[in-house]
């Protein structure tokens, strides 16, 4: 287990009252909604950022907003930290607990409450998976646009916490652009509603504030999201290049010419090989870099947009252009892309970066990333949302070798700093969590951070909600 990132020291006053706290929670929740046996707590000690692990005090799995409110009210009164958890798929450690914290898991709140086509909205419980919304409304020709690669498993609640993105966000925007309202439990158990079914609400845009707040302002228990009508058709096209630099420059040129496809995804050679081995999607194996460009609309619209993109790609020396021929093929192309991280597990352990850079800097940052990783004697696979400049270098290492793991973390930090220095930011969609917390000072001045922390304090004066995350620990222990 890595130790470079510290957690807040556990509150002894909470730890010493463990048995009493469990007994109190048992009064608030049915038995199947409370986990407290030590052995049963182990599977909750981490999320998908698995290098860091901490056993929680207990796990609450409420079924209703009222139960969430009761748990919050109790924890607020007793000063017990609370770490919210959706599906535990965070790549930045957003759901990793700590020894004095209750994990508040929303996995039992997984019902779709209302689908309203007249207003193009769906209202769902926070534990509903991202993909199940699109699956539910797909038969009627609608979908929910943000599509994180983990959309099969990740929950809407978690998406709101991290303001998650995905491949198709280039055209449709990230979670905050598709979220219309939430029901939320405040730290003291008060239940509030923000937004609704309309595009904007009177007063402050508190919904915008909540989206991306990493579970530190309250617990979202229900969400109303925007549904979008499916296009007439959609076609992913594969563009193979000799080098990553050519592919990167091509992306900047496509966007710079005013063309916005639905998605532009990038894979370098190691990533292509990993994804092809898993999905057998027919990715070209004889190229150095691959772009998956998806266009949508009528056949005429798709043809016209593709023609312009092909012309740009030719200027950048594109080697192969392959249009997919069937819906099955398209599904495989996306399956391969969306499974890229997990599929990497077939060859090595990895940590996944999430820096975002201005498009013009893509080739430069890709080059520098390789240099950094090589300097540490490690390997890297790049697979990311190129159209958004949202990079995901996967740094490969051996988790059973502590020295290797430490090098991977150091290389990761350098890469993220590089993204910031190139005019970008630390995170495009995975959130700060614990992983990027100590780099926040590289991104923001102390005054910037102080203002953000003041907002946080306005919602949670005692800092009990997901306390070890987002903001550096110095000066607040």
């Amino acid at each position: 287990m890595s130790e470079a990132i510290r957690f807040l020291p556990p509150r002894q006053t909470v730890l010493s009252r463990r048995a009493a706290i469990v007994a109190d929670l048992a009064d608030l929740l049915p038995p199947e909604c409370l986990v407290h046996e030590e052995r049963e707590l182990v599977p909750f000690e981490t999320d998908a950022f698995i290098s860091y692990r901490r056993l929680p005090l207990a796990v609450a799995l409420p079924r209703t907003t009222a139960q969430v409110a009761a748990v919050m009210k109790y924890c607020h009164r007793c000063g017990i930290p609370v770490v919210p958890r959706g599906a535990g798929t965070s790549l930045s450690g957003g759901a990793i607990p700590q020894e004095d914290a209750i994990v508040l898991g929303l996995s039992k709140m997984s019902r779709i409450l209302e689908v309203d086509y007249a207003n193009r909205t769906a209202t769902v419980q926070a534990g509903v998976t991202n993909l199940s919304i699109s699956e539910t409304v797909g038969i009627d020709g609608f979908f929910y646009a943000p599509d994180p690669s983990s959309q099969l498993a990740c929950t809407i609640g978690g998406n709101i916490g991290m303001n998650s993105g995905g491949a198709h966000c280039l055209k449709y925007g990230v979670t905050t652009n598709n979220l219309l309202g939430v029901k939320m439990v405040l730290v003291d158990g008060t239940v509030i509603e923000l937004g609704g079914k309309h595009l904007d609400a009177a007063g402050y845009d508190l919904l915008g504030l909540v989206c991306g707040s990493e579970g530190q302002l309250g617990i979202v228990t229900e969400a109303t999201v925007r549904l979008i009508a499916k296009p007439e058709g959609a076609r992913p096209v594969l563009f193979g290049f000799e080098t990553s630099e050519e592919a990167g420059a091509c992306v900047a040129d496509i966007i710079g010419s005013g063309i916005i496809p639905v998605a532009i995804e990038f894979m370098d050679k190691p990533a292509i090989e990993i994804c092809e081995a898993f999905a057998q999607a027919g990715y070209p194996l004889d190229v150095g870099a691959l772009l998956i460009v998806e266009v949508e609309g009528s056949d005429a619209e798709m043809d016209a947009m593709l023609a312009s993109i092909v012309e740009i790609a030719r200027r950048h020396g594109v080697k192969t252009v392959r249009e997919c021929q069937s819906a099955t093929e398209a599904a495989l192309i996306w399956k391969g892309r969306k499974s890229a991280f997990g599929a990497t597990g077939r060859i090595a352990d990895y940590i996944c970066m999430d820096g975002t850079v201005p498009l013009g800097k893509l080739p430069y940052v890709l080059n520098k990333t390789s240099e950094i990783v090589e300097r540490f004697g490690l390997r890297v696979a790049n697979v990311f949302h190129a159209g958004d400049g949202n990079m995901h270098p996967l740094i490969l290492f051996n988790a059973n070798d502590p020295a290797d793991a430490a090098k991977a973390e150091e290389a990761g930090n350098e890469i993220l700093k590089l993204c910031v220095d190139a005019g970008g930011c630390l995170t495009g969609e995975h959130g700060v969590g614990i992983e990027k917390r100590d780099l926040m000072r590289h991104q923001y001045s102390d005054a910037d951070l102080a203002q953000q922390m003041a907002v946080r304090s306005a919602f949670d004066e005692g800092w009990i909600l997901n306390p070890s995350k987002v903001f550096p620990l110095e000066g607040r222990e």
Binding site: E40, V42, P43, A87, K108, G342, G345
Partner: protein, 434 residues
């Protein structure tokens, strides 16, 4: 993910294998989404990722199994939906197999649980005993509701509910001997008669024998074969399972050496998954490793074998078939298209129910040992199937047939029964009204 085992622990080949499997897992959580028990219960402890973590913790610490671990491993259906979903290629099947053996070896179950399990292991794999037991079950039926009110006796109640209402018909299908090819001979195969299926529904292998004879395939029903071992294997009773496996390997090896076999045909996909794994199960037995691998290599689901015979395309007939893919078929053996393509070629209209990846709750003895979760999964499955408004349901596993039939009035048949009918066999009795 990171593991911590000592070299001494890794000297045990089972632990060494599990360690390799655990190293593949990157804890991404994708598997939770398609796990029937996670979807039903909403607790990560009842998901593949949670179980993997519990198993890891137990094995790393060299601990005997305890009540908590046993509860969550017992709730696993071994449907293997997680294996289909996992992008990292975690071999959950062999990991949970190992965990079940570890539980069986280190944990003493409560008395009622022990008795039920002993009863199942002593009866189900043996056709004669099973037939007798079903006779008693019919007498016991009126008491099912009563039994289900006592928590420890719920499995008995569930068992009585599942027992067929009418006495099983005797059939010659399982009688040892050679069934000659009815047309010009194009192949020679052995068929697994198995244990529970010939008692519950002998019509399945009767249809298979008729169809194969008409297609010119000679079929051997070898003397001495029996249960594939899956039932006890899933209870963690490894020695008993391996004995079943060795016996069948011997029987089939004799046939291979005598007249050659193109395939070993299996008409219950649950058994197919296990027989295809004989090579792995017996890998540490020098006397059997090679023979078992050869048997596994020859094992084929009936639909897998039939697609190789190029059956002619038939005129469409007006019959909507909801195809239910058994977990052992789609996840265990990765056979997804063959049964549907055969049905379509035979003129049936095939419909895919929603949530096809989710288990129906049958899962070997699961519907007896975990009646509550099983009943929820059955209701969900039947609802999805009925939504396609089918005339008939087709599937490839006797367990699913029994389970789904107990929840719907729509007739349910084995895929091969529909194919036999389409290609010149008699109309299945269950379709008399259609």
């Amino acid at each position: 993910m990171q593991t911590s085992f000592t070299p001494a622990q890794l000297a045990d080949p089972h632990v060494a294998e599990s360690e390799k499997i655990l190293r593949r897992c990157v804890h991404c959580g994708f598997c939770t989404a398609t796990c029937p028990t996670y979807v039903t219960l909403g607790n990560e402890l009842d998901s593949p990722r949670g179980r993997i973590y519990l198993i890891k913790d137990m094995l790393e610490n060299g601990r005997p199994a305890d009540e908590e671990v046993v509860t969550h491993i017992d709730r696993c259906l071994s449907c293997l939906a997680c294996v289909t979903t996992c992008p990292s290629g975690v071999d959950y099947m062999h990991l949970v197999d190992h965990a079940r053996i570890h539980i069986e070896n280190t944990y003493r179950r409560p008395l009622a649980d022990r008795l039920i399990r002993n009863l199942l292991a002593a009866v189900l794999p043996y056709p004669a005993r099973f037939r007798t037991a079903l006779g008693f079950a019919r007498l016991g039926r009126p008491f099912a509701a009563l039994l289900k009110r006592v928590s420890a006796l719920k499995p008995l109640g569930a068992m009585l509910d599942l027992a067929p209402k009418s006495a099983a018909r005797f059939s010659d299908a399982a009688k040892p001997g050679i069934r000659p090819a009815g047309a010009q001979k194009r192949g020679r195969v052995a068929i697994l008669s198995g244990c529970a299926q010939p008692v519950l529904d002998p019509g399945i292998n009767e249809a298979t024998l008729r169809l194969l004879a008409r297609l010119g395939v000679e079929v051997v029903v070898p003397e001495g074969e029996g249960c594939c071992g899956a039932l006890v294997h899933h209870m963690g009773r490894e020695e008993q399972a391996l004995d079943f496996a060795r016996r069948n390997v011997d029987v089939w090896t004799r046939e291979i050496e005598k007249g050659g076999l193109d395939a070993i045909i299996i008409t219950a996909s649950g058994c197919g998954t296990t027989i295809k794994d004989y090579g792995h199960m017996l890998r540490l037995d020098p006397a059997y490793a090679e023979k078992a691998a050869r048997v596994s290599g020859l094992a084929k689901d009936i639909t897998e074998y039939l697609v190789g015979l190029d059956l002619p395309k038939l005129e469409p007939r007006r019959l909507n078939v909801a195809y239910h893919s058994a977990c052992s078929m789609q996840h265990g053996q990765k056979i997804t298209m063959a049964p549907k393509n055969l049905l379509k070629a035979a003129g049936f209209t095939v419909r895919d129910p929603a949530e096809g990846h989710l288990c129906c709750g049958s899962a070997g003895t699961y519907n007896i040992l975990q009646p509550e979760i099983s009943a929820q999964l059955k209701a969900r499955k039947v609802k999805n199937i009925e939504a396609t408004r089918p005339d008939v349901i087709a599937t490839g596993n006797i367990g699913c047939i029994t389970q789904i039939a107990s929840g719907t009035a729509i007739p349910i048949l084995h895929t091969v029964e529909l194919l036999d009918w389409a290609y010149g066999g008699p109309k299945p009795e269950k379709l008399a009204a259609k």
